[in-house]
């Protein structure tokens, strides 16, 4: 399969990139690591007139500690840099644990934090070649107007399948968006729409530039548990991130988030109440979190393994994540 033809743009600064976005909005795709975009372009899920390779933008690279404020992570930081960062591992454990599970070592060298946050939603009926989709019948998300996952439905249920966003949600991360009107910053939880075929609240002329981790969530205990068939390569079929603050005393703050079972990564409502104030994080509270997480998830036939099984695993993995975080 060949790539569709396109013009390649290689900006060296955010300003230049924003200029290109403004000029070609709607016909341009941003390439960071390319691990998701390139295969998708071969499958003709995207046939943009322009591909903007932003890897040359220095100011979007790297992990920077800002004392008293937190950590600033450039959108172009490779996932392997998160994996290898002792600082992240020590202070933001859940993010480290999640980054380690993404795809395979080779893909983590190319794949970026920003790419993982913006990752296109996935569905077995969507991530297929043009020929395949034509044989099957095109779906809402691309070229068609019906859904194979929920026949009769008009809403796209393609699942958000990034591993790091649930961890970032647990840490209360903010994202910085750049666009023609300048810079805006918003909590990551407000970045996702919950709709499979337009999953980001990002205008066509905007771009994710940085992620901020607040210092207030530094040192939280954390764990990420991922359901997959293989121990490497696979996207999550369900994923649960848990992080809480506990220093000898009771749990002071907590968040639980899930991924790969909804069109967006979601914080699990009620999980903070269930955890905060607990002197001991035990099997009992873990079970409660498992129930809450399973209630939040809405797995459908967007991926391998049955939805029922995946819901069940959200329960099991949430429980395990809570207990693992307690030990972390």
């Amino acid at each position: 399969m060949s790539l569709p033809s396109f013009k390649l743009l290689r900006p060296r600064s955010i300003e230049e990139a924003v200029g290109y976005l403004a000029k070609h909005a709607g016909t341009i795709q941003i390439l960071a690591g390319g691990t998701d975009l390139i295969p998708s372009m071969k499958q003709r899920l995207f046939s943009p007139a322009y591909v903007m390779d932003i890897r040359g933008i220095e100011e979007m690279q790297g992990v920077h500690v800002v004392p008293g404020v937190g950590v600033e992570i450039g959108a172009l930081t490779p996932l392997s840099a998160i994996e290898d960062s002792e600082f992240i591992r020590r202070n933001y454990r859940v993010l480290h644990d999640a980054a380690v599970t993404v795809a395979s070592p080779i893909l983590r060298n190319m794949g970026t934090v920003g790419g993982n946050i913006c990752l296109d939603t996935r569905c077995l009926w969507y991530n297929q070649s043009l020929q395949w989709r034509r044989s099957c019948g095109f779906c809402i998300k691309k070229d068609g107007d019906l859904c194979h996952v929920a026949p009769g439905g008009t809403r796209c249920w393609a699942a958000f399948s990034g591993d790091t966003p649930p961890a970032l949600l647990c840490l209360g991360a903010d994202v910085e968006i750049v666009g023609p009107k300048g810079i805006r910053r918003l909590p990551l939880k407000n970045f996702y729409s919950g709709v499979g075929d337009a999953h980001l609240k990002l205008d066509p002329n905007e771009m994710l530039a940085r992620v901020f981790l607040p210092e207030s969530s530094s040192g939280w205990k954390g764990s990420y548990q991922k359901l997959r068939v293989r121990g490497s390569i696979d996207y999550p079929l369900a994923g649960v991130a848990v992080a809480f603050k506990k220093n000898g005393g009771p749990v002071e703050a907590a968040r639980v988030a899930i991924t790969a079972v909804n069109p967006a990564p979601l914080l699990v409502p009620g999980s903070d109440h269930a955890l905060v104030g607990r002197q001991v994080v035990d099997e009992h509270v873990a079970t409660v979190i498992g129930e809450l997480a399973a209630k939040t998830g809405k797995p459908l036939t967007t991926s391998a393994l049955t939805p029922e099984y995946r819901r069940e695993m959200i329960r099991v993995f949430a429980k395990r994540a809570v207990l693992a975080a307690a030990r972390s």
Binding site: M1, S2, L3, P4, S5, F6, T27, R44, L45, S47, A49, S104, L124, Q128, S129, L130, Q131, W132, R134, S135, C136, G137, F138, K142, D143, G144, D145, L146, H148, V149, P151, G152, L227, V229, R230, G231, S232, I233, D234, Y235, T301, A304, L305, T306, E308, Y309, E312, M313, V316
Partner: protein, 868 residues
């Protein structure tokens, strides 16, 4: 001194350096000047008549050279003489989603892909069949009109008196087993480059040369000859390096024919390389199989009777299907002593890609059923699972009830070894909850005693040429597909001639240069091509020995050859610079051995002069170098060549009943395995921790290669056991890529202890038998039996995915949630195939096509999403 100088030594494969450094050339690495790229248009429908193909818009696209369609090459072909049901491109109708409709030849891949969008095809949809048991009931619109009820072939074999056997049994157990469809997933996708020479006399396209990723160059040459209506002598097939076959390249794959037809029409070289999705459509893997198995045993565990009804979902073409369904029945025999066998086999056509041969061809799924059932019966009778297998061993040499001749039989030792190494007696049944051990056995042919082309010609022929430089060139038709056949023939010849490997050059799998070998499949190469190599080397050795005997004034039988030296029996072995064959290998900078010692010059004629001079000075001698002996032989006879061929002996060729041709083999390999697994009872995830795999390969010509094959077989079997499955929805493959097909990664690979058992077969080359396939089948039941040991559930449907395991665990606990997870289907007692294939992932989620959906339109003439 060792009995052998290079046989049985752990040596690196002779082609490994090129592969590991990237220097090696595979088919897709090749290019010719003026080469064009071919891209195939595939059917979007599972079953439809082609009413019209309009290629005019595509032809108008700049860069498109020509477009080939079915009528350009309508001759039918197929790998089996009884199954000529394929054409290069669909002639009247398409039979599966992915069937080949047209081929665009263009200056680049992207132009060709664009042109595919511009071909307008008018289809008339026909009812399609996706489930073999439904398909067998079809009364009209058969997939191939000459195959009523869509049954490709059915066989009904009775050996002994099965009913009497069941009557004598103390325990009879009967179950239905299901095995999902799996595919080879070879690393290298299929690729073919075809080019015609211009005939110097006529100026028209003359001879055809095809470079292709194939296991069977000779069959390819033969089928090309049928389709292109060219004499075989005008066709040359060359096999470059092949990146794995596993059976997927053991027959002629559509692109191989299409590339040649396209090259002829385009009058330019054409290369076609499949995308991974196209590899899945070309497929020819292991069919989804329904096995109704009934076994009878006495109280002491002795088998009295076996009855099997096997239905295989063969896909839209015959492929190897008739052979597959026969292997499923025939290899019920030759492993254990079974006095009575009934076998009913149905190979059924469905509107899906054709299934064919895959590692362990035909035997794997039935073996899973049999070994699982045997384990279950052992548990019921309170007999140790290893012990019940021991009690049912054959007593070779013998002929089984279904006419299979068994000579060497290392199974008892295989069982003994894995029981000992796994500490079976101390640990079985005593591991903590959730962890268990399981045992199973399997076997496989060392090549089929009757070739599929029903010819009496030798199955393998090998030629040797030796020149004055002492270099030995082996011309063999054996196709090295990564299994190491080039190394195998080199070792055999080196051993016979007593020379180092570095003297040997292997010219293989080029139909212009190498004698006919019927191909690399059914694990026949070591046994058959190895025997031919052995005979060729002995033939040439005779000539060398005769000349050397004369020079040394002794009888030919007193001439000894080893370590690149030739000497007279009774004298001590001459010093060959202290280098044995292995050591010479390591010293790659001295590729011609001890030539330097002889004369200081290496050119043939000079060498000859100096040797004669030397001889005059020295008179008769007790020893000489290999070169000297070779020169004497050439001086004596004018040239030095040898040839050897192999055809299986009559006694190994089986019975006379219908279908008796499949199953017989000159020798069978044997395997016993113990798997140690743990089961996570919360998630249903099965982890394989270790597999002890003992394989009787007769003699390990190269132990490292044998171990590699055993490890690969176990790993591939584990994939089928736990996670691999082709998932279908209305004839549409839901996982046509390696991301969603999910072969195990290195993360899931357990420790595999490969144990070599050498039974030394009386007819194998140096006693060798097959090593590449026989170990696969035992892995699946070894794992299912270990799961039973760990958590007490019997899984009768493969793969043992987490949701199936969890459902079975819950069913066992009678939990009400048990059935929800796999949607109404209890995997511990499946009675029918689920809708559309092995999984319920997509049940009730079918493509109800929207009226406006472009795919609904009968003509598909859309450029979709393409603003490029």
């Amino acid at each position: 001194m060792d009995q052998f100088s290079i046989i049985g030594k752990r040596i690196a494969l002779v082609d490994s350096a090129g592969k590991t450094t990237g220097q090696g050339k595979y088919a897709d690495d090749l290019s010719l000047s003026g080469m064009l790229i071919g891209k195939i248009l595939h059917s979007p429908y599972p079953h439809a008549k082609i009413k019209k193909i309009d290629t005019s818009r595509a032809e108008a696209l700049e860069g498109v050279v020509t477009i080939v369609t079915g009528p350009d090459a309508p001759n039918k072909y197929g790998i089996l003489p009884v199954g000529h049901d394929e054409t290069a491109l669909a002639v009247e109708k398409v039979r599966y989603v992915g069937d080949n409709v047209a081929c665009v030849v263009a200056t680049s891949e992207s132009v060709a892909e664009k042109a595919l969008e511009l071909i307008d095809v008018e289809y008339e949809l026909l009812p399609a069949w996706f489930d073999p048991e439904d398909s067998m009931k079809a009364e009209k619109e058969w997939i191939h009109p000459q195959r009523p009820n869509n049954i490709e072939k059915d066989y009904h074999h009775v050996f002994g008196d099965p009913d009497k056997g069941f009557a004598e049994a103390d325990l009879v157990v009967e179950h239905r087993y299901l095995a999902a469809e799996v595919t080879h997933a070879a690393m290298e996708p299929h690729s073919t480059l075809a080019a015609f020479d211009i005939d110097s006399q006529t100026g028209k396209p003359g001879r055809l040369t095809v470079w292709s990723s194939t296991q069977v160059p000779y069959y390819l040459q033969h089928k090309l000859s049928i389709v292109l209506e060219m004499p075989m002598a005008q066709i040359r097939v060359i096999k470059p390096l092949v990146g794995g076959g596993f059976g997927g390249k053991s027959e002629v794959i559509p692109l191989e024919i299409i590339a040649a037809v396209a090259a002829r029409k385009a009058q330019a070289p054409v290369k076609i390389t499949y995308t991974r999705e196209e590899v899945f459509w070309a497929h020819r893997g292991r069919p989804r199989t329904i096995i109704d198995l009934k076994t009878g045993v006495k109280k002491d565990g002795l088998l009295t009777s076996v009855a099997a009804r096997v239905v295989q979902d063969g896909g839209a073409y015959c492929s190897y299907g008739v052979v597959t369904i026969l292997y499923s029945g025939a290899l019920l025999g030759a492993l254990y002593d079974i006095p009575h066998i009934r076998y009913d086999g149905y190979r059924v056509l469905t509107n899906k890609p054709a299934c064919g041969a895959m590692r362990g061809h035909g035997t794997v799924n039935v073996r899973f059923a049999f070994e699982s059932q045997l384990d279950e019966m052992a548990a019921k009778l309170g007999i140790d699972p290893a012990e019940i297998r021991r009690r049912n061993l054959l007593k070779p040499p013998c002929i089984t009830v279904n006419n299979l001749r068994v000579q060497s039989y290392g199974l008892p030792e295989c069982i003994e070894k894995v029981v000992e190494r796994s500490q079976w007696k101390q640990r079985k049944g005593k591991l903590p909850r959730g962890r268990g051990l399981g045992i199973a056995c399997s076997h496989y042919v060392s090549g089929a005693a009757n070739s599929i082309i029903r010819s009496d010609m030798p199955h393998s022929t090998v030629n040797l040429k030796i020149d004055r430089d002492g270099g030995v060139v082996i011309y063999t038709g054996a196709s090295d597909i990564g299994q190491g056949s080039d190394t195998m023939v080199a070792q055999i010849v080196a051993e016979v001639l007593g020379i180092s490997l570095s003297r040997i050059k292997v010219v293989a799998a080029d139909t212009d240069l190498t004698p006919i070998d019927i191909g690399s499949y059914s694990s026949r190469v070591t046994f058959m091509n190895g025997n031919a190599s052995l005979r060729a080397a002995e033939d040439v050795k005779k000539k060398i020995v005769a000349a050397a005997a004369k020079k040394m004034s002794c009888a030919p039988e007193d001439v000894l050859m080893r370590d690149d030296m030739v000497w007279k029996r009774g004298t001590s072995q001459p010093h060959s610079n202290g280098r044995g064959a292995e050591k010479l290998l390591e010293k790659t900078d001295a590729p011609r051995g001890n030539v330097q010692e002889v004369s200081g010059r290496v050119e043939g004629q000079t060498l000859r002069g100096s040797l004669q001079q030397k001889r005059k000075e020295e008179g008769p001698k007790d020893s000489m170098s290999f070169e000297e002996a070779v020169v004497s032989a050439i001086d004596f006879s004018g040239s030095l060549t040898g040839t050897g061929s192999y055809a299986p002996p009559k006694e190994a060729r089986g019975g006379a009943f219908k279908g008796a041709g499949v199953g017989p083999s000159p020798a069978y390999s044997y395997s016993a395995q113990v798997a140690e697994v743990s089961v996570d009872e919360d998630t249903g995830v099965v982890t394989v921790h270790k597999v002890w795999a003992a394989h009787d390969c007769g003699r390990a010509l190269n132990p490292v290669s044998v171990e590699g094959q055993v490890i690969g077989s176990v790993w591939m079997g584990m994939g089928q056991a736990l996670q691999e499955e082709m998932v279908w929805k209305d004839g549409l493959l839901m996982n046509p890529g390696l991301l969603e097909y999910r072969s195990p990664s290195s993360e899931e690979s357990p420790e595999i202890e490969a144990i070599i058992v050498e039974s030394v077969d009386p007819e194998g080359p140096f006693g060798a038998k097959e090593a590449s396939e026989g170990s696969l089948a035992a892995t699946i039941p070894a794992i299912s039996n270990a799961i039973y040991d760990a958590v007490g559930i019997r899984l009768r449907e493969s793969p043992f995915t987490p949701e199936r395991v969890l459902a079975a665990l819950r069913a066992k606990k009678n939990a009400s949630k048990a059935l929800e997870i796999t949607r109404g289907s209890d995997p511990s007692a499946p009675t029918a195939f689920r809708e559309h294939g092995g999984s319920t992932w997509f049940k009730d989620k079918g493509p109800q096509r929207h009226p406006e959906d472009p795919a609904r339109r009968v003509t598909t003439a859309h450029t979709v999403g393409g603003d490029d």
